[in-house]
Subunit: 635 residues, 3 copies
């Protein structure tokens, strides 16, 4: 497949006179795609019912006739001011009960049915008008669901919706009381309409209550998106995407993805570094102008799973952003490196956000490919190089990886509700596993928890799945691959109760978690060889073989016949000593990559990416900073 | 007295079929007491007036006939959901005015008279039904008053109640204005109903206003508790207890205790360590699996005073809790150590919380004596050892200590209102004094501020009493003992005004505080020998003898005829050099205990407790980690 | 001019019987001024319309006839309780929408027109009664506008006022939408009454919106003050002052100052040190008992500009305050040092806050010149020395400095709205420049941004002026002086949009900011000689001469013909290497002062102030701690 480039463009921000020149320059820069429209509602409908699509007609025509393919966004992430007059209760409430009002974006509650109707109306109008437009080659629904912590809302609309959802799920309030264990602290309800949202309680709410509300909320995002998809499909056969935001896990992206043809995500490597990667200050400093070497790769692999193979980077950072605590410029060459990393993981397209830096409003400090005065900005040199390399270099050939890593949004919700120790998260655990695998030079596929066919995987990791279906347990137990499960796997039933027999209750592996503990950050539990458990560990009993011990004599890993249970959260060194023998058993060759250097295999090539700000030497070769090196596979 | 063990049990959480087996196993484990009922309101009265006591009848019968004594709790800490429908304004408001609603526990405002009536009703029903039940050997009112910061509420009920309380206390609004100094900043009121609660002000409220509100609030807790006690006493002659929570000082426990036969408290040594002890990170790390060596001892001594000699540990941590920032498991043996420390301080009973770990709801990560699958958990080995040792070993013989330390809840409130320096608290000051005394090997009695008869005490400490009655000043000045007073002693009159003549105005000790200052944590004021004042110090004048100076030449201690005024907040080394000569003058022999090792004298024995995670050698003897050593007194 | 001393006195806090003795002692201590009345509304008007001015008549008579000059304050900072009953909506709301109610002070919203009328009424009554009183020698309006973060209020009154202000400023909502760039994210308004305040938005509001609201709010402070001034002037010819609070920049002090004869400010050197100076812990520790060596000097120079030459210290810290995180006592002699520093900068008067320490209410821990028992407190020795020195020593002769530093409140607002990097502020940047100049031994004039006549200045600094008028650009480009501009200078137009051509667009200096970046605190960009840019830097292009480079090769300073553009925020060492050659070019001799020692030139003298807590040696001379040394100029 030919990999393509694109950009995000806002014709409504500029005089129509400059649109043709912008389009010409985009084509010259090697761009194929131009995404437009996703924040333009106030220009499409300045007052209720007063529709003004002519400018959009013209913009699509100008861009399309210049040779660009248009991705048309639905404008539902930015309801106009008059919408809030019409539906004052559409505003989401935060956990403290404060409104999250008009004045920026995403000021709506997913549970508000009146706003959903308004979205259906505007999406219908757009789909009708542009569904058959040959320049509109793809659609995007809304923009960055969940960004700015907007998934979970404590509004009245959410409360009423949640009560109904509970009614449907549990049938009777007795069944709900029983499933949640509400007898504890006399929290039993008499009627569904007594169920409040799990905020503003004296101390923590029942974790079953909180988890149910997170699941309800995730379902609303799915329903909100599905409504738009169904309308677009009535008028258009172009593929539909959503642009997910990095490190947002508070709704089930797989379920949203099931309604879409393409998954895409918005990749801001330096924007993410400070607050989302979870790195320490030394790491943040070392990669301040490059971004974390694994964070984008993880998301690439995740959205490949969300997109069932088809995925894009819809927004690629091209220079400093405006929204991180500190906003330095990237090293020269990083925009190219980030782009190639995406393609090496199978991205169909990489679109740069945005074409021209906006001189006004919230993102005026966010770089574009052009400066506000239309001169070229820092990234344009990298973009031209990408254009030339995509033209000349061999096409990227995707390949299934031999390592599978399960990521489950529901497990992330369960950990969020009950981390047990400060700072612990499911995302953090899985990302640590991913980083360790990648440090060993491995390429990884991220797998859905519904996966039952694991053919082709020699090593499968399923850490931290708080709830595991019996079907998944059985499927994993039947693989010839090496399978690593734990910690906290199967620790809860579907309603957040500790099951009896005690976890993990895995077929074919006699291990029981006798007790668990969370650890102070300064008090890791050393492993017998090297490395340690940090933050969380379990004490195991059972007849399986202890294949690794902690220094205090307790089991760190127990194994039987290719199944391994991991009794804690390893640090980087711990992951290495745990994974290395498993890789050997799985027939996977590993290497020990230096800081910053990373490898990615495609079917025909091995890509080397040096994220370090300095030369890195490995295996006798030297890699320049911000460099991309392509070897034929097995070179 | 025979010391006894017990546990906390929730029959409503389990099928009745397993109650008999649970009861049998409790008896086998050496338990005498079983506390039940304190969170069961929704099962006793599922809807308003629909009373279902039969299951409780049966549970008491099963437990009692197995040989256990029942402590029956009133269920008022967990009003059911329908109660909040009936009394929506019973919900407390936090300092920001946010409701603290249904969904966990303690969702009531102590000032709400409607809820008090409901409590009186349910307590009356319980007392009538079980007052004569021979298995019910004790009562517990409510559960952990003040836990989750629930003493102080900024509700309308509290505001109206406070206005009435002010009216009663001051008689006229002019008197109140005068007592509080409301002329300052034109804060004068015209009528009592203009007095708002001291929250949501632009900058800090008048400290007199804040202190009055804290006193009002404390009085509501006393009244709330007294109402229940008076009803129970109409039907039962069994003793009544309340289970106070550790490190909660925002109501006057002595006044609550005056209405009860027994004081009890809930001892979670590891749960307290992170946020309540006030220790630094190194100390928290060193005692992460043991808890602070002095924190429980302090509370034991405090509740002995609250209980007028009769006190229990109603809830003893048996393993990891769910609620601290980090929740490690204790060292093996610590449950036994904690239990013996309690008995050595005179506890009548120690009850483990809880019998079986709950698989559901907020405390599902809280260990019990049994795992959720009814297998024995970590603590059961220690419990069995306690059972055997209580059977075989000599009985604990209490003795009055020779050191008395005054603790005053009203002083704690005054410091909370006006710490003067960030992080300073009365509790912290008194606890530092306590730690220093205990590090010297001393056993301590905590005394109420109403104490006038100090017979038997050779050393009396009364640090930080912001307000001192003339009677207390006089009584202390008449002792033959060594008496240490200050800092901030007598610094305010009963309405939080600086008195003239200036503090401390002690009979028999000519000392005046010329000025005070709070110090940066990195800027202690060194004492001339060793040690320092940290956080707070005073500059003194007067004719008393300077018995210790600071390096800057100012007096650190001034003394006359056994009365000593302390001019600051000493660090550990400072306390040592200050207390050592006082002990010598008092005829008290002191030792210098190593980190972790502690001593407690009873009438007939000396107990040694090693809280360290390693062997400790002292005076030629070696003490194993988590060990308890009993010597005959004077051994 | 004869420099004078004074104090702040509250006759309403004390029995009238002691007023004469207080007055006598003030005179004896060398005090000229006594400020009274500014918090006394509840005593002047205990209930609505019930006026009680007799006590104030008497107090003025007692004080005045003792020889003191009275500064009479309007009591509008402390509306009585009944006022809030009358105007419940006068209460300001904080950014979260919470009321900032009665119970301390400054509980009013500047936008509330009803409260403004009440202020006009009470000020009118005072002015009528005392306008011709010969003892009333000056007036003070209100007290510390903006203290306790009270400038910005999100009340309904503010919202309605802001909508009207927008209407006046922009004429049409289309013009406003265009000026703010509201097309971005569909934020366009249909009507002015849809414009909410820029709080409670989902993510950050439009910076143009936020900046406009800050300007509106500043205008309300100006109008609030002007109303009082106009009324007083109808009845009195005495000069009118306001006492600004240190480190408050959220309204335009110049505009308030334009309506007043005298600027004054409240100088709490140790109170400011912890939270307002922006110093690190080591610096705070070193100057814990002295205050920052430059912070007061900066404010002295700033308020000389605000007061158009006439300025006072209305409140001078005399000992520990009650309101800093830690409140130590000053070194002996510091009160004298602070006083002389003020006079050396041209203060007409220094008044000590307060005469006698209040035994009650919020400031009972705030030192006065007398203790609560009327004995002399620590500062009185310094005051007496001041009295004698003012009598005997030569008069201070003011002189224009040769260094001008522009300070612009509007730029501070723009940076506050958009700091770009965490922790960056305009005040911080300008104060760093000021500190660097003062460390070089220079005396500085702070200049208003409206300054066009720069005669007499050899070095002019104008860092960080986000918006620069064309007139100012032109005036600066025409000076013979060395002129340093940047970073961020001219970065925005008047409505917070990036202008094209890109910034700074300075006549006579061909420099363009190609891109900007903010830096992690641990990642400064080294300069080629020594020092670094910290927090913020820009990449420049253009034909001007690169006169300093960063280590990465980018320009750090570009210059042409005496105009210099600074491409980042220098650290202390960076400022030194940048300013030193500029001073040489400007013909200014510089020295390198040791930590703590500072110099200030008047027309006839050079003052040396040693803020260090130890002896400091410089140029062969030794300076004692807390010492003031006066040399004849050119000594």
């Amino acid at each position: 497949m030919k990999r393509t480039l694109g950009t995000c463009y806002y014709p409504e921000h500029w005089e129509p006179e400059i649109w043709p020149e912008d389009a010409r320059r985009m084509v010259e820069a090697g761009l194929t795609w131009v995404r437009i429209g996703e924040f333009a509602w106030s220009r499409l409908e300045p007052t209720p019912g007063d529709l003004r699509f002519e400018w959009l007609d013209q913009a699509i025509e100008v861009l399309g006739s210049a040779g660009l393919k248009v991705v048309l966004g639905t404008p539902t992430a930015t309801p106009p001011r008059w919408m809030v007059d019409k539906h004052p209760d559409m505003i989401a409430l935060d956990v403290d009960g404060k409104p999250r009002g008009f004045g920026s974006r995403r000021h709506y509650c997913f549970s508000h049915l009146g706003y959903r109707e308004e979205c259906a109306r505007i999406v219908g109008l757009l789909a009708e008008r542009y569904g058959a437009n040959s320049h509109v080659a793809a659609w995007q629904t809304d923009n960055e669901y969940g960004c700015h912590d907007t998934t979970i809302s404590y509004s009245d609309a959410a409360r009423v919706g949640f009560q109904g959802w509970c009614g449907e799920r549990y049938g009777s309030v007795e069944a709900l009381n029983n499933a949640w264990g509400n007898v504890f602290w006399s929290m039993e309800y008499n009627r569904f309409d007594q169920i409040a949202l799990p905020n503003l309680t004296v101390t923590e709410p029942n974790p079953a209550h909180s988890l149910a509300f997170r699941r309800y909320t995730s379902d609303q995002v799915v329903a909100f998106n599905r409504l738009q998809v169904e309308i677009i499909k009535q008028h258009s056969s172009a593929p539909i995407a959503h642009n997910y935001m990095g490190r947002i896990t508070d709704f089930d992206h797989y379920k949203v993805g099931d309604d879409l043809e393409i998954a895409s995500w918005d990749s801001y490597p330096m924007g993410f570094l400070e607050d989302r990667v979870g790195a320490d200050a030394a790491h943040q400093k070392a990669f301040a102008r490059q971004g974390d070497p694994d964070f984008q790769a993880f998301h690439h692999d995740l959205y490949r799973a969300v997109g069932k193979g088809r995925w894009w980077v819809m927004e690629q950072q091209p220079g400093p952003v405006n929204w991180a605590p500190y906003n330095p410029a990237p090293l020269d060459g990083m925009v190219r490196l980030w782009s190639w990393e995406a393609f090496a993981h199978g991205a169909e397209a990489v679109c740069y956000f945005r074409w021209r830096q906006a001189p006004m409003a919230q993102e005026q400090m966010h770089a574009g490919l052009l400066r506000p005065d239309s001169e070229e900005a820092q990234a344009m040199r990298d973009v031209r190089q990408m254009r030339d390399e995509l033209t000349d270099a061999p096409e990227v050939q995707p390949a299934q990886a031999r390592v599978g890593l399960i990521f489950d949004y529901d497990a992330d919700a369960a950990w969020a509700v009950q981390p047990h120790g400060a700072g612990l998260s499911y995302f953090g655990l899985v990302f640590d596993a991913y980083k360790a695998l990648r440090k060993l030079g491995l390429s990884i596929d991220i797998l859905r928890p519904e996966t039952r066919d694991f053919a082709g995987y020699d090593l499968i990791l399923a850490p931290g799945l708080m709830h595991m279906s019996e079907a998944l347990k059985k499927a994993l137990s039947q693989q010839n691959a090496q399978v690593l499960i734990g910690p906290r796997s199967g620790a809860r039933d579907q309603d957040m109760t500790i099951p009896v027999p005690l976890p993990p209750a895995l077929p074919g592996l006699d291990v029981t978690v006798d007790r668990v503990e969370s650890l102070r950050p300064d008090s890791p539990e050393a492993l017998s060889l090297s490395g340690a458990f940090t933050g969380y560990r379990e004490i195991l009993t059972g007849s399986a073989t202890v294949t690794l011990t902690a220094e205090d004599g307790n089991a760190a890993v127990m194994s039987h016949d290719g199944m391994h249970y991991l009794a804690g959260w390893p640090d980087a060194e711990g992951w290495k000593i745990i994974l290395t023998p498993l890789c050997a058993q799985a027939g996977l060759e590993v290497i020990d990559l230096p800081e910053g250097l990373r490898r990615r295999d495609t079917a025909s090539e091995t890509f080397w990416f040096n994220y370090a700000a300095h030369d890195v030497t490995f295996d006798g070769r030297s890699f320049a900073p911000a460099s991309v090196t392509r070897d034929p596979r097995d070179a």
